[in-house]
């Protein structure tokens, strides 16, 4: 019905019950179809609250959230919204419902009333997309954290979403699990054009996004490409956020007069710049 797959936050304020001050105030943003947006902030900044507003788990106290053309305030569209905006959570265990991987992936389809004949092909293609096909008949508790998260992603994929919201999906994983999950999501974003909203406090993950929204004290303080955002090293530090080591190093070198270009995020980029500024003399 609605071809529009944008996500809009219009001046959104959200206050938890029994709390005096709002968790989010006056937040506005537009997320374009196919974008990979990272929402970066420390714990308590409001970033998780923002995630839950995007799939109508929370309704804004003030302002509106419009997902794929549907306003989250309209109760009758809540299932349409959640089918289009899938969410994976921080704890890999606490989102798996069934005793067998295949059946957990089917859970969303069962809820949507998809006819039985259609289910298996959708489940198989979802598991293939996250490279977990050979675990289809396994019990979830035997899987690693990264594998469990991939099963959760498959469960969302089977529902054919336009948008995947990942609420700190890698916070409880070890480095290889984090890489697995991030790679899977990035592939889905690039190959299938699924919009991704990636909530995190890991700056190396945010560095891979198209755009970064930095949230602190319930507001969006910075917004831009990773290079633009991370270059503001002092502001980031003020907000108790990490900046990639190379960015921080480049910032320090610049402060000492070395004319490095802005927006350096990785080791390779800094190597390039060093080569440019300190050309090696040819061997004599």
């Amino acid at each position: 019905m609605h071809a529009d797959t944008r996500v809009q936050l219009n001046d959104v304020t959200y206050t938890y019950e029994e709390q005096a001050s709002p968790a989010l105030s006056g937040v506005s943003a537009v997320i374009q179809p196919g974008e990979f947006v990272a929402v970066l902030g420390h714990n308590g900044s409001g970033k998780s609250t923002m995630a839950k507003l995007l799939n109508a788990l929370y309704i804004p106290t003030k302002g509106d959230v419009v997902v794929c053309g549907y306003n989250t305030r309209e109760e009758k569209y809540v299932w349409e919204i959640r089918q289009r905006a899938g969410m994976i959570f921080q704890n890999p265990d606490n989102q798996i419902v069934a005793t067998v991987v295949k059946e957990d992936v089917a859970f969303g389809l069962e809820n949507l009333g998809v006819p039985t004949e259609e289910m298996l092909p959708r489940i198989e293609s979802a598991l293939a997309a996250v490279r977990m096909s050979k675990y289809a008949d396994n019990a979830p508790h035997m899987l690693s954290g990264g594998q469990k998260q991939r099963v959760a992603i498959a469960g969302i994929l089977a529902m054919e979403p336009s948008l995947i919201i990942a609420d700190e999906a890698t916070a409880m994983l070890d480095p290889s699990g984090r890489k697995e999950v991030l790679d899977t999501i990035r592939t889905l974003n690039r190959q299938k054009g699924i919009t991704v909203v990636w909530i995190t406090h890991f700056m190396e993950e945010a560095a891979l996004a198209d755009r970064v929204l930095v949230v602190t004290d319930g507001e969006i303080r910075l917004s831009g490409t990773p290079a633009e955002v991370f270059d503001r090293v002092d502001e980031m530090r003020e907000m108790h956020l990490d900046v990639p080591h190379m960015t921080s190093l480049a910032g320090d070198l610049r402060a000492e007069g070395m004319p490095l270009r802005p927006g350096i995020l990785t080791v390779d980029e800094l190597v390039e710049e060093v080569e440019r500024l300190c050309p090696l003399k040819s061997a004599t």
Binding site: K52, N55, L57, W79, R82, Q83, G86, M87, F89, N91, D93, N94, Q95, I96, V97, A98, T99, V100, K102, E103, A106, F107, G108, L109, E110, N111, L112, G113, V114, P115, T116, M119, L120, I123, A139, P140, H141, M142, A152, G155, I156, M159
Partner: protein
């Protein structure tokens, strides 16, 4: 270590019995229990034993797996045997020693009642060994569906069972972790009398409960995010079908029932 426990006692091989419809298996197990109570002689028990043995063969289940189900109940079985052995009045005395009196009648009765218990356990073991917890839960849900008319929450019950089964290994793992953490702080779960051991459980149970509540909250949010809204309008991935083998199984049990009834009349 603890997470290698297979759920329930499900023995995952393939066999005609495994593939029977769980609803049929549930109903036949109930009929089997009735049959065990109806049998009156050892001849009847011989038939029942033959039946159990035959089913376990078709199901590719080693008999010792079946017998393992008796282990937790061995004390009750032994107690039943001994109580009947010593306290049944009878005429043909075998042993008379001090206040101990064992008669032939007593022995036969003890054997009979113990065997009854054993067969009841074996019958239900056959069910749980050949039916995965998920199938069982499905079968129960569908069998109870007619009760929805009187607002019996059949779907919710089945959902609860599935989720509970799913989390058993996870909770066991967590118990292990918490126990180790508290032991590292000097907690002692092993020594002491009943009361002190009960008290020692607090540092284990409180964190478990807190974590279980948290899991429940998280899971509810995850389920809602995947459009869960109760049983209305839900379809199912697994569809149960009754096949010819199911009718054959029914016929076999019906035959057993008939034989036991005849045994009751003629023997």
């Amino acid at each position: 270590m603890l997470n290698n426990i297979t759920m329930g006692q499900y023995y995952p091989v393939d066999s005609k019995v495994h593939r029977l419809d769980p609803r049929i298996k549930l109903i036949l197990t109930i009929v089997f229990i009735v049959i065990v109570f109806l049998a009156k002689t050892f001849a009847g028990y011989a038939l029942i034993f033959a039946f159990v043995w035959m089913v376990s063969r078709i199901a590719n289940i080693p008999f010792r797996m079946l017998l393992r189900g008796l282990k937790p109940l061995r004390i009750i079985i032994i107690l039943t045997f001994l109580l009947n052995l010593f306290f049944t009045s009878g005429e043909t005395v075998w042993v008379q020693f001090w206040i101990i009196r064992i008669t032939k009648e007593g022995f036969l009765q003890a054997a009979f009642y113990s065997l009854r218990l054993i067969f009841l356990v074996l019958g239900t073991s056959l069910l749980t060994l050949t039916t995965s917890p998920v199938s069982l839960s499905d079968g129960i849900e569908i069998l109870l569906t007619p009760l929805k008319k009187i607002h019996f929450p059949a779907h919710e019950l089945a959902m609860m069972m599935t989720i509970a089964l799913r989390f058993i290994p996870t909770l066991l793992e967590e118990t292990d972790k918490i126990m180790k953490a508290q032991m590292a702080r000097g907690a002692d779960f092993e020594s002491g009398n009943l009361i002190s051991r009960a008290k020692a459980m607090v540092p284990l149970l409180v964190p478990l409960f807190v974590s279980a509540f948290r899991r429940a909250g998280d899971l509810a949010m995850a389920m809602e995010s995947r459009c869960y809204h109760g049983g209305e309008g839900r379809t199912r991935l697994r569809v149960l079908k009754i096949t010819r083998n199911d009718w054959i199984a029914c016929a076999v049990v019906a035959l057993l029932l008939a034989l036991i009834i005849l045994e009751g009349i003629f023997l």
